[in-house]
């Protein structure tokens, strides 16, 4: 019974995911911060085997679509990986400001 409880607790903890921050990047912050735009894109893999990093381009495209005629400034990017036992989620979370020139 105790063994099962410990095993179940460990499984529950593992499935709740462990976040590993890979990198953080920031560009210059503008004074004008009225129009905040955000996007996130992710890619799942099994035991860390990936065949493409196209999810990063997806985030850039999403950001550009939200600011088609303006200047995207103050780009704050977090690249993190969340592990659920043998499955991993790679994620890019981006926020920025869209300012009309």
């Amino acid at each position: 019974m105790l063994k099962n409880t410990i095993l179940f607790s460990l499984l529950a903890l593992s499935l709740s995911g462990c976040v590993g921050l890979n990198t953080v990047s920031m560009t210059q912050i503008p004074a004008e911060r009225e129009n905040k735009i955000t996007t996130a894109s992710s890619s799942w893999n099994f035991i860390g085997i990936n065949f493409s990093n196209a999810f990063v381009d997806e985030a850039i495209d999403n950001l550009k679509a939200q600011c088609p005629t303006g200047k995207i400034e103050g780009v704050y990017t977090k690249h993190q990986t969340t592990g659920y036992l043998l499955v991993f989620k790679r994620e890019v979370i981006v926020s920025a400001y869209c300012n009309e020139v």
Binding site: G20, T23, S25, T27
Partner: protein
């Protein structure tokens, strides 16, 4: 495995693990429209040392079985005492790159800077390394 062979393997591991390793690069905007560009480089580094790896190598090349066991135990203690994600070998000073921003501000007499490239790299020789933060850029004259 004979001790001599283990020593050779250990030494090969040390040499093969050498050379340069690139961890992270960030390239910024380059403005060539405002004048002539003069390149500059700012580099800070710190001695990196993976004590657990050193103990493991020691255990591999130790002459007696008891020494080898002791060193394996030491490696385990070191590994659990230095828990956490690592980029390159661990260092004993976490502030070695603290001054890079001020160095970059100071470097250009014109106070006009462009094309900053930030590199995090390392030069490894087994468990010892030089952990480097390098900022390259251009002063606009």
């Amino acid at each position: 495995m004979p001790i001599k062979l283990q020593s050779i393997l250990g030494l090969s591991f040390l040499l093969l693990g050498g050379c340069s390793q690139l961890h992270h690069v960030h390239i910024g905007d380059i403005d060539q429209s405002q004048g002539r560009l003069t390149p500059f480089t700012i580099e800070v580094n710190e001695l990196g040392f993976d004590a657990a790896k050193a103990a493991e190598i020691g255990a591999g090349v130790a002459k007696s079985a008891s020494t080898s066991e002791d060193l394996e135990f030491v490696a385990l203690i070191l590994a659990i005492s230095n828990f956490g994600p690592k980029t390159g070998n661990p260092v004993y000073n976490d502030a070695y790159a603290d001054q890079v921003l001020f160095e970059v501000i100071k470097v250009c007499p014109s106070k006009k800077i462009t094309g900053l490239t930030s590199v995090r790299e390392a030069t490894n020789v087994g468990p010892v390394s030089g952990e480097v933060v390098r900022i390259k850029g251009y002063c606009i004259n």
